[in-house]
């Protein structure tokens, strides 16, 4: 073929080869649902790639053909009936292939949706806010309902029911490694089932445009064996302990005396704000500001002092923390494991 085609082929191969396993990738599945979807994807891809190649080949041949007896504007009769047969056959094959694809899609859809037949599912209520995630682990015992934000742990090999709500605009809960997405629509509850088979850390991101910081609304799903999950759950249900260290005590007083309590809650203190993320076990999370920055003390300092610099438009207020109050506050927050 021509040089152009060679360049094009190399480019395609280069691009496709970078498809290998990745964070937040739909073709790097870690659960049965995303596994089925990825398998469906590759089936579609190869079939349709072959069809594309055939059509392109025919198209290029038309450029190179010189029909034998080219009568001006009037094609020969035999060619017409031969073409008719070919076009009809192509159409019939198209219909059959599409039918096959339809059946396969519907079956896969059913299979990925049908995890909910089990009883006593772990139920997590996901509430989208601008621009953070509230997660509540539901439980018939109200004292065991866990409220947390921006990060969830789930046990490996067990289906989880996600109940989606929204407090403001439409968001979308999506963890590509695990399952397709589900929109979170205000005034409705949408549901989805999730299951992970491989332990690991999986990143998800909001995927319905929700305003200024839609780009910075991510979360983490951490899948771990059942016993580690139970231990995590137990630890998360505990309220924050009273600090023994005077610096941490100073930090707690700063938290309670500044504006923080208007929005945030730390169980075990008098702070019970409901507008923003629950911070009771803030230090146990990998990231802050909904997956924007790693949860380190430096990043936290930057976030508190000037959140608008990191996430312009965020609803976290820009508060002036007095210099000798900032460090104790940071220490306190990072002690909330």
């Amino acid at each position: 073929m021509t040089r152009l085609h060679l360049v094009w082929t190399i480019l395609c191969l280069a691009i496709l080869s970078s498809c290998a396993g990745h964070q937040q990738s739909a073709i790097d599945p870690a659960g049965p649902q995303s596994g089925k979807i990825a398998a469906l994807w590759w089936g579609f891809f190869w079939l349709l790639a072959v069809i594309f190649a055939i059509v392109m080949a025919v198209m290029l041949i038309t450029l190179m053909r010189r029909p034998p007896s080219a009568i001006e504007n009037r094609p020969p009769e035999q060619a017409e009936s031969g073409l008719k047969r070919t076009v009809t056959a192509a159409t019939v094959i198209t219909v059959l292939l599409l039918f096959v694809l339809l059946i396969v899609s519907v079956k896969t859809g059913k299979a990925t949706a049908d995890l909910g037949k089990q009883s006593s599912l772990l139920t997590i209520e996901v509430t989208g806010n601008q621009w953070w995630w509230q997660f509540r682990y539901m439980n018939s015992d109200a004292s065991r309902i866990l409220t947390t934000a921006n990060e969830i742990h789930i046990p490996v090999g067990q289906p989880v029911l996600i109940q989606g709500r929204s407090n403001d605009v439409i968001h979308s809960f999506w963890v590509p490694n695990l399952q397709g997405k589900r929109d979170l629509i205000p005034s409705r509850v949408t549901t989805e089932y999730l299951q992970v088979d491989n332990p690991g850390v999986y990143r998800g991101q909001c995927s319905e445009f929700c305003g200024l910081q839609h780009a910075h609304m991510a979360f983490y799903v951490i899948a771990e064996p059942k016993d580690k999950f139970n231990a995590w759950m137990q630890a998360q249900l505990q309220p924050a302990p009273a600090p023994t260290d005077p610096v941490l005590e100073h930090g707690r007083r700063v938290f309670l005396n500044y504006q923080c309590i208007y929005c945030h809650q730390i169980r075990g203190t008098t702070a019970a704000g409901q507008n923003g993320p629950d911070l009771t076990h803030f230090a146990s999370r990998r990231s802050l500001a909904a997956g924007v920055l790693p949860n380190t003390i430096g990043n936290l300092g930057g976030w508190i002092v000037n959140p608008q610099r990191i996430k312009p438009g965020t609803h976290m207020a820009t508060i002036a923390v007095a210099p000798n109050d900032l460090q104790p506050l940071l220490q306190y927050l990072e002690s909330l494991k």
Binding site: V87, S207, L212
Partner: protein, 634 residues
């Protein structure tokens, strides 16, 4: 010079008749005359030029977006500005470029292809254009006063509702839609009537060019689809301005109702953009393969089926909202089914090209580019029709790649091919073939470089409408590649403009029919006179200009001292009666100004609905004021 000789010797001398004709169809001089024009060629050109300017603006917005996304954590644009830009890009391209340019080409070409002198409702035609221009100016007034919409081109509530989008941004968006949709409805109505009632005698429905069929189908689709978006945008606008509760969940409204109503329009909308392009491709392929299209009945039925099926697909935009499984299955089936009708057309074109004597001019390059890009886009569309796959790639860059493949490949490439194909007819000069081919390759390579990596970005988890992304996701290299491609497209666009501007003044004059194409528009002069044909042609076959010259008859007996046309019957185009079209009139412009004032003002104050209605009513009175029968003034 006309290619259709007189058939009767007793016809009065050409010189006198011709001068009467020229006088009846002349434009009035001066600025008032420019505002009063009602000839279809002028209005069609205005649509095309205005839409092309919108294309450039939309393209500039795209370049800004791509520049911001070239690197992770880039600070070229902040979130607010980026949101405004991507929304304006989509809105401009969908509402202010794609549909109007197709309408403009139709307004220019249809009367020529049908062998008549003007569209059925010339003043409505002018009104539609001025209203469209009003919509462009209205939206861009917003853009330049920091009031550009920032909620995405489909503006889902509650994000676009009163609580989450303060100010007037979303109101400008919603009302601009009203402008353009009313304009679209005007054009659709006149195209349908022109096609049905003003064809050349004996141009029965099965002798119409495929482009005419495509515009007929498209115009019916416009009539059924546009009201839905007017409703959706009106729900949004009234929720925002006068505290209604249609789609605002804070007050009991339903955001999904908006989505359903919007996408009932939104899906046919993309076919409204795409189906005229199919007509372009048919014209280009027939002319440059130098044979009749293979499978004309199949092509026509596919176009019609495409138009119908397009209305049954819309929920595939909402697969992530939690639908019942039976609903998902149905819409998967219909979304896949439409691939059949498009596929049939591709097969027929390939069959035509397989057995034709291919002339590889620039227009045909674009037709081939269309096939390559559109087929790939259509195949990713089949992937998106599958619910499990869609739930992974919905609202990611995969979808952006898909719709740009089908829209740019499926509509823009044929449009550029159409420009190259009909430029000789519109201006009397040929475009440079050398520059044209360079233009094509820049666009083709740039396009694929920009949008092919986006498939991969989507699969790797990059959502849409993000103003930036972190380094560790690994989206940087592909995004950079896409930005480079975007700049290559920009260069391609510049080459096109250079080609147009230099060709307009070149010495390569075009004959009436440089491509030896079969349809009637090539019988008119290049560029056509205001009256199109000295004598209206009749047809005896599907390819009138391929018939021997002695078999080509003309219509005689129409008066030339006024704008008279022949109205024919619907099915077989037997001559039915003569009809006098109105001449130039300032009233469409005045009416459009009054309606624009009503629309634009009502965004700020509901009273403008009243004031606007009153002045529009007065303008309509002036428009329809009875004149002497058989009004003579041009």
């Amino acid at each position: 010079m006309s290619a259709t000789p007189d058939a009767f010797a007793s016809v009065p001398s050409e010189h006198t008749e011709l001068s009467l004709l020229e006088n009846a169809w002349r434009h009035r001089p001066g600025i008032l005359g420019w505002l009063s024009v009602t000839t279809h060629q002028a209005i069609g050109m205005r649509y095309i030029v205005t839409a092309f300017i919108m294309l450039l603006l939309g393209g500039a917005e795209a370049l800004l977006m791509r520049t911001q996304l070239a690197r992770p954590n880039n600070t070229f644009l902040g979130p607010d500005r980026y949101n405004e830009i991507f929304t304006t890009h989509g809105t401009t391209m969908m509402f202010l470029f794609a549909v109007p340019v197709m309408e403009g080409m139709a307004i220019y070409l249809i009367p020529l292809m049908l062998g008549t002198r003007n569209v059925a409702f010339p003043r409505l035609n002018a009104f539609g254009y001025w209203l469209y221009l009003g919509g462009c100016l209205f939206l861009y007034w917003g853009v330049f006063t920091n009031t550009a919409p920032d909620v995405g081109w489909f503006a889902y509530p509650p994000l676009s509702g009163p609580q989450f989008t303060p100010g007037k941004r979303a109101d400008f968006w919603a009302q601009m839609i009203t402008f353009t949709e009313v304009s679209g409805l005007c054009v659709a109505a006149e195209i349908i009537v022109t096609i049905f009632k003003m064809r050349a005698p004996r141009m029965s429905l099965n002798r119409m060019p495929l482009y005419v069929w495509s515009m007929l189908v498209q115009s019916f689709m416009v009539i059924f689809a546009m009201p839905a978006v007017v409703i959706a945008s009106s729900y949004l606008l009234s929720d925002r301005t006068i505290s209604t509760h249609f789609v605002n969940p804070a007050e009991g409204g339903d955001p999904l109702a908006y989505q359903h109503i919007f996408w009932f329009f939104g899906h046919p909308e993309v076919y409204i953009i795409f189906i005229p392009a199919l007509g372009f491709v048919s014209s280009i392929v027939v002319a440059n393969a130098r044979r009749a299209i293979f499978g004309y009945p199949a092509m026509v039925l596919s176009l019609i089926a495409n138009g119908f099926i397009a209305f049954g697909l819309w929920v595939h935009h909402m697969f992530a909202t939690g639908l019942p499984q039976i609903g998902e299955a149905y819409f998967t089936a219909s979304s896949m089914m439409i691939a059949i009708t498009s596929g049939i057309q591709i097969f027929c074109w390939l069959a035509t090209l397989w057995t034709g004597r291919v002339r590889r001019n620039t227009a045909l390059h674009f037709a081939y580019g269309f096939i390559a890009i559109f087929v790939l886009g259509g195949l990713t569309g089949v992937m998106l029709a599958s619910v499990p796959l869609d739930l992974q790639v919905h609202d990611t860059y995969f979808v952006i790649a898909h719709f740009h493949y089908v829209l740019i490949g499926g509509a823009l490439f044929p449009l550029f091919g159409a420009f190259y194909h009909w430029f000789p007819k519109m201006t009397g000069r040929l475009m440079s073939e050398k520059l044209g081919k360079i233009n094509f390759w820049f666009l083709f390579i740039g396009f694929n470089l920009t949008f092919f990596p986006m498939h991969i970005l989507g699969l790797k988890g990059m959502p849409r409408r993000v103003y930036t992304y972190p380094v560790e996701m690994g989206w940087g290299p592909m995004s950079f590649l896409a930005t480079v491609g975007a700049w290559i497209i920009a260069i391609g666009g510049i080459i096109f403009i250079v080609n147009v501007l230099s060709s307009r003044r070149s010495a390569h004059f075009a004959a009436a029919n440089p491509w030896d194409a079969p349809s009637l528009e090539w019988a008119a002069d290049s560029p056509p006179a205001n009256y199109n044909f000295e004598h209206l042609p009749t047809v005896a076959s599907r390819h009138p200009l391929w018939d021997p010259p002695e078999e080509r008859a003309v219509v005689t007996g129409l008066r030339n001292d006024r704008r008279e046309v022949l109205v024919t019957t619907l099915m077989d185009a037997e001559p039915h009666h003569r009809y006098v079209l109105p001449g130039s009139s300032i009233w469409p412009f005045i009416a459009a100004v009054c309606v624009s004032i009503g629309f634009a003002g009502s965004v700020f104050n509901p009273w403008y609905v009243i004031w606007g209605s009153i002045i529009s009513g007065l303008a309509l009175i002036g428009w329809f004021w009875p004149r002497r029968p058989f009004h003579m003034e041009p």
